[in-house]
């Protein structure tokens, strides 16, 4: 580092005006020299240089984006799409510091487990006055029904625990929050690590970082050993609120990584005291539930009656020990912010130890002293009301009226309020790709602990925890919520020596022989895959037709020909158009060749891009995406990339104003859809899930093609070669036709190609054959020796097609008899195919009716 006095080293250039922070700095010591544990990383970063860092950051961003790493709730809304930003500079913790922090985190998990055990058991802490009743019983996370008889099987309640931590201005650690129901972020932490290791291999390969993969393996072991029966392969499911929830990406990610079935409340049912999953093969027993649903919503029988996410009877099944839920229902009480004020005393009373990790300064307003103090210096505190989870009051940012209301509430129900001291955090460097320099950032960190798998069956006093050596850091005011942040960081815990690199970080952890996607495929997943196929295909055929129509529009405009196909094409697209609209004379003032007809038709066609049209492309895509997200764990990474690419298209598609731009969008969309279906065929195991996708797709395509043929050959206003050409182009068969028939378009040849030729994937004959094969391989619920409805419908259509006397159809243009025969044929094909969709749905999908309450009780929301 010895350089000539006036030369700027690469490191100094990167640092720019980073130095100079008065409080604790993670990177620099009091003499503005880099701390020892940063040195290696700093050297690497300086060696890469700003240009490379910018490029690598972009690379990381692309990887994240392609993998669809998101955590925002309204992802389906194209305007809201947002992945997070990942900083290429990690948060670094030295080995020595980690040892202290780790000990504190372990103790905290142990303490909370003891507390939980007591709160739902003897409640000694309340009877002895250690915790006020008002603190516990006003929190919606205290479940009275979890406090009934002691459970029949003793298992840890707090399996998995997330702790939010900051480093303060003085360099001390402070805990700012606990996540005890279903701590989010482990999946993100691993995904960040994987992404950065790919983007910055030179830095990650040799750095002495503690590896994360072992932690999830331990979690898997832990969950598997929870099962009472100790079955060889316990059935573990991850219960998610569904694709609408903010954490859904991570739910799918974890389910995939850990090889659990991703289920929603509707997929589960309690029968005979057991929890079972509705699958294609019937009910399959569930042993362990890793739940991602908050306490009050888990069981509409014993908890909130208005919950549609939960499973009726779940608590009773858990109470009898027939299913284990991680974390146990009721653990949400530990998320009470006010507990922080009591933890030092509780730690002494419950563990006989001093609390190692201090909490952020907290006052519970239920005690008179605390209330007086908070009221006298309201601006210094952040207030939380337990009856309004998530709501934060900051007096310094409130108007006079709301401040008066707040003071009144504090007087009336002081025990509902917890005051947390506003804190300033330490700073750590982050790389800004705009300024190309390191900048000071304040962050909050989340760490994860897990009960030691080997201690699972031991009594509570002997249970220990382990902590994942790494975590998640996010940018923002110290203690700000993760979900509101836009920039996250990897957390490095340094090991004394380089760690062996575990290259197969994303290898599944489950046992090797598992029959996922077999008969144990949840019915809901089969249904979503089916509709994914149908909507994808509908989007494709609509898109192609629209593309041809736009091309035709441009052509017509140039030719100014009298006749036009457009009314027929609009009909095919199901766009209503009043012919009167078109007959009005040219609009005065509009330059010559642009006719009103052109303008009206163009507007109608471009409307297909509008967000608000029920059958428009964005609406169809919305259905497509919703179904794809519901089966996120069944689609490969590349497949997901194709969906993300589509999503980007649709971000701007509703603003399409010009015909040419519209055509370009459609070209891209058709290619992405082809990539999507191609990848599904290439990467999905050809098991039931894939078959349902394929069946959905080909039912849709059969129906679409039949309707199109009917239009082109029978009902069109302007039948003839131009229209037939469009039909062939829409089905991408124009080239095939030319090569094969080497002639002008002729209806009979078109029928041959699109109806009868079983070697042409676009022909009805081929599609029926494919549907027949797929349906024959679906599991049949009964063991009847007879063909089921679905098979009979396909046979009916196939026979109709096979028995056609082609000679009768020979002269469609000239003979009314031939036209009638064709009309009859097409209708005889359309009818069984329309029924097929319902028949499949009836035989295989679950049709879960929403459970209803015997007595409807709506709690009044007054307060």
């Amino acid at each position: 580092m010895q350089q000539a006095a006036n030369a700027v080293t690469p490191l100094q250039a990167l640092l720019g005006d980073y130095p100079g922070h008065a409080g604790h700095d993670e990177l620099l010591d009091a003499d503005r020299q880099p701390r020892a544990h940063w040195q290696g990383l700093l050297d690497d970063i300086a060696a890469l240089g700003a240009d490379t860092l910018v490029a690598r950051s972009e690379e990381a961003q692309n990887l994240l984006h392609e993998n669809g790493v998101t955590f925002n709730p309204y992802e389906d809304d194209p305007g809201q799409l947002r992945s997070w930003q990942l900083d290429c500079v990690p948060w670094v913790i030295s080995t020595e510091e980690w040892e202290l922090l780790e000990a504190g985190l372990k103790q905290r998990s142990r303490l909370l487990e003891h507390l939980l055990d007591d709160l739902y058991g003897a409640r000694r802490v309340i009877q002895e006055g250690l915790l006020p009743a008002e603190l516990i019983f006003t929190h919606p996370g205290f479940l009275f029904s979890a406090a009934d008889d002691p459970p029949q099987v003793d298992r840890p309640l707090l399996i998995f625990h997330g702790t939010d931590v900051i480093r303060d201005e003085q360099g001390g650690w402070q805990v700012v929050g606990d996540w005890t129901q279903s701590p989010a972020g482990v999946g993100y932490a691993l995904e960040n690590r994987i992404t950065l290791a790919r983007a910055l291999p030179s830095i990650y390969r040799d750095a002495p970082i503690k590896r994360l993969a072992g932690f999830l393996q331990a979690q898997h072991r832990c969950l598997a050993s929870l099962a009472k029966t100790q079955r060889e392969q316990p059935n573990i499911v991850l219960l998610s609120p569904g694709p609408g929830s903010p954490g859904y990406f991570e739910h799918a990610w974890l389910a995939n990584y850990m090889n659990f079935s991703l289920v929603e409340g509707d997929d589960l049912v309690v029968r005979d005291g057991q929890v079972s999953m509705r699958t294609l093969g019937g009910l399959t027993q569930v042993d362990v539930i890793l739940r991602q649903i908050n306490d009050p919503w888990c069981d509409p029988l014993e908890l909130r009656p208005d919950s549609l996410l939960g499973v009726p009877g779940l608590m009773q099944a858990a109470r009898c020990g027939n299913v284990h839920i991680a974390n146990a229902l009721g653990a949400g009480i530990l998320e009470h912010p006010g507990l922080a004020a009591f933890l030092p005393d509780l730690c002494r009373a419950l563990l006989g130890e001093e609390l190692l990790l201090p909490c952020r300064e907290t006052l519970w307003c239920g005690s008179a002293d605390a209330l007086a103090r908070v009221e006298s210096e309201l601006d210094a505190w952040i207030l939380r009301d337990v009856s309004r989870p998530g709501k934060v009051y900051r007096a310094d940012q409130m108007g006079l009226d709301s401040l008066r209301d707040l003071r009144a509430s504090l007087q009336h129900h002081p025990y509902l309020f917890t005051a947390q001291r506003q804190i300033a955090g330490s700073v750590t460097p982050g790389f800004n790709t705009q300024t190309r320099k390191l900048e000071r950032q304040t962050t909050t960190l989340r760490f994860f602990s897990l009960v030691e798998p080997d201690d699972l069956l031991k009594p509570v006093v002997e249970r220990n925890y382990r902590v994942m050596p790494g975590g998640l850091a996010w940018l923002g005011e110290a203690g700000a919520p993760l979900m509101k942040s836009r920039l996250v960081k990897d957390v490095w815990v340094l090991a004394p020596v380089p760690q062996p690199h575990i290259s197969l970080l994303r290898q599944a952890l489950g046992p090797i022989v598992v029959t996922r996607d077999g008969k144990d495929l949840p019915c809901r997943v089969a249904e979503s895959l089916f509709w994914l196929g149908r909507y994808g295909e509908r989007l494709d055929s609509r898109g192609r037709l629209l593309r041809e129509s736009l091309a035709r529009l441009l052509q017509d405009d140039r030719q100014e020909s009298g006749s036009t196909l457009l009314p027929d094409l609009l009909r095919a697209l199901e766009i209503p158009l009043d012919p009167e609209d078109l007959k009005v004379a040219d609009v005065a003032g509009v330059p010559g060749r642009v006719s009103r007809e052109y303008l009206v038709t163009r507007d109608r066609l471009l409307q297909m891009f509008a967000d608000d049209l029920p059958d428009g492309l964005p609406a169809l895509f919305g259905h497509f995406v919703r179904n794809s997200r519901a089966v996120r764990d069944h689609l490969g990474d590349d497949t997901w990339r194709a969906i993300n690419s589509l999503r980007q298209q649709f971000n701007s598609i509703s603003r399409t104003r010009g015909v040419v731009v519209g055509q370009r969008h459609l070209e891209a969309m058709v290619l992405d859809l082809a990539a999507f279906f191609g990848l599904c065929n290439e990467t999905m195991p050809h098991h039931y899930g894939w078959r349902f996708l394929d069946i959905g797709r080909f039912i849709e395509r059969t129906l679409g093609s039949l309707e199109l043929l009917k239009l082109a050959l029978l009902t069109a206003e302007e039948p003839g070669i131009p229209l037939w050409e469009v039909v062939l182009a829409t089905t991408d068969n124009l080239t095939v036709y030319r090569r094969r028939y080497r002639s002008q378009l002729h209806p009979l040849a078109i029928l041959d190609l699109l109806l009868f030729d079983e070697t042409n994937p676009r022909s009805i004959g081929y599609m029926l054959k494919r549907l027949g094969q797929q349906i024959a391989k679906l599991p049949s619920p009964g063991s009847s020796p007879y063909r089921n409805t679905e098979q009979r419908l396909v046979i009916q259509a196939t026979s109709t097609l096979h028995l056609v006397d082609i000679a009768v159809l020979a002269d469609i243009e000239g003979s009314e008899t031939a036209r009638e025969a064709l009309a009859q044929l097409l209708d005889q094909l359309i009818e069984p195919m329309s029924e097929l969709s319902n028949a499949i749905s009836h035989s295989h999908f679950s049709h879960v009716e929403a459970p209803r309450q015997l007595v409807s009780m709506h709690y009044s929301g007054q307060n």
Partner: protein, 300 residues
Amino acid sequence: MKYQLRHTTHYEYSGSVTLSHNEARILPRSLPWQDCNNTRLVISPTPDRLRERTDFFGNRVVYFSIESLHDSLDVTVSSDIVTRPRLASDFFSSIAWESAVGELQQDPRMTNRDCLEARLYVLSSPFIHQQGWLADYALDCFTPGRNLVDAVLQLNSKIFNEFIYDPEFTTVATPLADVLSSKRGVCQDFAHLIIGCLRSLGLAARYISGYMETSPPPGEVKLLGADATHAWAAVFIPGWGWLEIDPTNGCVPDERYIVLGWGRDFADVTPLKGVMTGGGDHVLSVAVDVIPLREEASLL
């Protein structure tokens, strides 16, 4: 007193129910002044699964599921009940109501266990929220320095006198504001109301579900099934215990009252609740008999 208790709940569904999970809090609990003998629970169709447990409040809860197709549900409990005079009959306490409030707000480390346990019942609950206007309604009974028991009994009479018993008016969850403004309701509403008033003043009060022996009009024979479930309240008197009050009848419950269980409000002691799949609309009928047994009759 000795009673033969019989309580039948019958649901008739318009469509078939394929699966139902239920919770019943209809088994009477034993108390120092109440014995429950030969308690039987008969459910039709026969549940596939049935488990009894004791809940947070000490009530008996029965979970049962019916897992095959059914069009009706019939739950009948019967029990031979013996009741004795409650302690309250010769009761005296001179504590002022503000002192009671003060005791309930003491530092938890400085106070006794009964008081600590009662503090749960000062707080708002699913159906009953502390409100300034509820306290206002009760304030003419709770004048400064007044004896707690006197004030409570006056409030009990006040509700009895000012409100009209009207089964047509209310549903399971009529908001207290509506009950107060219309001055109408049923026993459950009046129990919620008095609890709401007491809690809004800072006192501890709980909800009791049970039955009460009714007498036929003079000269008439008591009809079968004519009794009903009943609900009343209890208020915590520091240093003494829980004093029961019945604002529907303006009296203090005696041996004619049979206790099923208690909780913070109706939600904690709903006699029968369930979540079912299918079923369509349903028709509910309830029949309750509280038949007094004379000594010689019970010997037969």
